[in-house]
């Protein structure tokens, strides 16, 4: 991979949600540490995949970058054509104006479209709501984007109920792209779709990326989908990153036991390849009360005393391959076999 410009730089991002008591006083009794100290960069034009079990904080990271929720601590900067913008600092009108550069595509194309708006109005919404362009230009831009997303322009006056799942997701994509964003968060954007439709939407997302130079943060729990679309992947667990590397590195040479377990649990579409999942004991811990030391030690096959006591350092074990595990150097882990 060539070195590209950094689009986003996230440093020590923390998002805590307070747990309050019931009643009038609503005392804070603790925090759910949804994202707890995560640092990474996203390069311009790449797709960064984010994987992890439910409750690991994937969606929270996406929303935090979009400033759809308030962050507790950390620094986020956005490189807007050379101008470095402090994402964590901007607010009010400035933030509102900035939103056109970052968009979100949701999971469920059935519940994320207003049934009482026409497709044209849905796609135009970001332009109108943020007063981005004079109203005479809105129709032109909507049509351009709709064409780009392979929607039939004749259908723009219809309502969402007239469309199938795949077409609805294309409407969602068009809505996200109409303001010409640089960065798009795809939060499980193909998970709700049927297999035959999913392939089409993945292809469309990849084509649009090439044509428009988009940068994606691709959040999904399906590792084969993430592997297909991403350049680099981050593996998340209870609010922290455990491993971060290029897709080839991570899938063929995983360095963290959790990544190994995730990869081994993917059912292969081949009756001759027997699935030998690394069995993880127990379940994902509560992010309000994460385990001491390495957060994965309660379920790790290779855990030793050190793992319980010391927090592993986030380090670059090989160029561009980051991992947080005490024994990453010693462990021999099983990845996915590549047949080429």
């Amino acid at each position: 991979m060539t070195v590209k410009d950094q689009l986003l730089n996230i440093e020590d991002l923390k998002v805590y949600f307070p747990i309050t008591t019931r009643g009038v006083f609503r005392q804070e009794t603790g925090y759910v540490r949804a994202v707890d100290g995560v640092s990474f960069t996203i390069n311009e034009g790449e797709t960064l995949g984010l994987v992890g079990e439910s409750g690991s904080g994937k969606t929270t990271i996406g929303r935090a970058i979009l400033r759809a929720l308030d962050i507790t601590d950390g620094k986020m900067t956005f490189n807007l054509d050379g101008e470095i913008i402090d994402l964590s600092g901007i607010k009010g009108k400035e933030l509102r104006n900035f939103r056109q550069h970052m968009q979100l595509i949701f999971q469920d194309p059935y519940s994320s479209l207003n049934p009482r708006m026409t497709v044209r109005d849905i796609i135009a919404e970001p332009l109108v709501a943020n007063k981005l362009v004079p109203s005479k230009d809105v129709d032109r831009m909507v049509q351009e984007t709709a064409k780009l997303c392979k929607l039939n322009i004749e259908h723009l006056r219809r309502f969402p109920h007239a469309f199938s799942g795949g077409q609805r997701q294309r409407i969602c994509i068009a809505r996200a792209l109409v303001s010409h964003p640089k960065f798009v968060v795809c939060d499980e954007s193909v998970s709700a779709l049927d297999v035959s439709i999913q392939a089409e939407i993945l292809n469309l997302l990849m084509d649009l990326q090439e044509e428009l130079g988009l940068t994606y943060l691709f959040i999904a729990h399906d590792l084969s989908v993430v592997a297909h679309i991403s350049d680099r992947v981050a593996v998340m667990y209870v609010g922290q990153f455990l491993e971060f590397a290029s897709i080839e590195e991570l899938f063929t040479k995983p360095k963290h036991p959790y990544t190994e377990a995730l990869l081994s649990a993917i059912p292969e579409v081949d009756p001759d390849v027997e699935m030998k999942p690394v069995s993880l004991q127990g379940e994902i811990p509560n992010p309000a009360n994460p385990p001491s030391g390495c957060r994965f030690h309660t379920r790790c096959l290779y855990a030793e005393d050190k793992c319980r006591l010391e927090v592993p350092v986030w380090r670059e074990i090989e160029p561009e391959h980051f991992v947080a595990c005490h024994f990453a150097d010693e462990l021999v882990l099983r990845g996915v076999e590549q047949s080429q």
Partner: protein, 348 residues
């Protein structure tokens, strides 16, 4: 038994627990009659897993609801349909039973159990796990209350739930997602069913938990010698758990065969298209080949072969006119496609 296009060898006939023949289900809706399932036939081998794959609208869930006689009120099974359960050496025709008859109630949850995608929906939130399990056991098995509790404890232990005696006293909401799915399996198996119908049981779970549940189901099948119908849209899961596979599209069976035949020697263009549409781990950045077009609405079923509107091997003036008959490719492999019709081999 009348000769049927799905007939297999005599020997094979004795080895199935459930046979579905020409199943058709119609739903009355405000917009007209919807055929949820059309002329579907399959057999569930004894002690083995039959996978049913299909996308939304393929009728895979409707077929299982018909077997359990759990169809919504507006749905009805065709007169000509037959669902035969082999129990204690007797053949019972389920379609001839009334949904609330004593015999049907002994089958539903007794001889045939079912687990669902959303475990929270199968448990009542206001009774403890133990309460609900005991109720099922007492209804279907002739045992004392103490014995029922023992069975419940043993089942929870078998499905890998730690501290089963504590869990028995807990309410469903106190369990995590994976635990709840295990508890649901324990409840479904506590009546020692001949057949377990699993409708997308792992779809809502994380991959690591999914792997555990699949492993568990495989192990329980070995221990209890039950048959399983495993309904899913995930071909990876099918490849790992099913012995035989039925591929459905718009309420019809496109192809059925052993898992190896379906995945390695798939014959129907739909099965082939499905397989090439899923991302594979060993071919990372290859472009996927999507299936063109959308799944037609069940209200506007295309005439002829239901897949012809999207089929890459569409034969004009044939596929859109007639529905292809089932063709036998091997003792265990059947496909419904004109490409394989014997008299038209030169076309293929």
């Amino acid at each position: 038994m009348t000769p049927n296009r799905n007939i297999m060898t005599e020997q094979y006939n004795k080895q199935h627990v459930l046979a579905v023949k020409k199943l058709g289900v119609a739903f009355k809706t405000d917009e007209g009659i919807v055929r949820g399932v059309n002329d579907v036939s399959f057999k569930v081998p004894k002690g083995k897993t039959l996978g049913i794959v299909g996308e939304s609208g393929s009728g895979k869930t409707v077929a299982s609801q018909a077997i359990m006689q759990l169809l919504p009120k507006n749905g009805s099974i065709d007169e000509a349909s037959e669902i035969t359960l082999e129990r204690n050496g007797l053949s019972i025709n389920i379609t001839s039973l009334k949904a609330d008859s004593k015999e049907m109630r002994s089958i539903r949850g007794g001889s045939i159990s079912m687990i669902f995608q959303e475990p929270m929906a199968s448990f009542s939130p206001v009774y403890t796990i133990g309460n609900q399990m005991e109720e099922v056991i007492l209804f279907h098995r002739d045992v004392s209350k103490e014995k029922a509790r023992e069975i419940a404890l043993d089942m929870l232990d078998r499905v890998g739930i730690a501290n089963p005696s504590v869990r028995l006293e807990q309410y469903p909401f106190e369990l995590s997602g994976g635990m709840r799915q295990r508890a649901m399996i324990a409840m479904a198996l506590a009546t020692e069913p001949l057949l377990l119908i699993a409708d997308e049981p792992t779809t809502a779970l994380d991959v690591t938990i999914q792997a555990q549940i699949l492993e568990l189901m495989r192990q329980l099948q070995d221990d209890l010698h039950m048959s399983i119908i495993f309904i899913t849209h995930d071909l990876g899961v099918i490849a790992q758990i099913a012995h035989e596979v039925v591929v459905m599209y718009l309420g019809q069976v496109m192809e059925w065969g052993t898992t190896r035949e379906i995945i390695k020697e798939s014959a129907h263009p739909y099965t082939k298209s499905l397989l090439s549409a899923i991302p594979k781990l060993d071919l990372l950045h290859d472009r996927l080949i999507p299936i063109s077009g959308d799944i037609p609405s069940p209200l506007a079923r295309p005439p002829g072969c239901p897949f012809h509107t999207r089929c890459p091997e569409f034969i004009p003036e044939k596929c859109e006119i007639a529905d292809p008959e089932e063709t036998k490719l091997s003792e265990t492999h059947y496909v419904s496609c004109f490409l394989y019709e014997e008299e038209d081999q030169n076309d293929g």
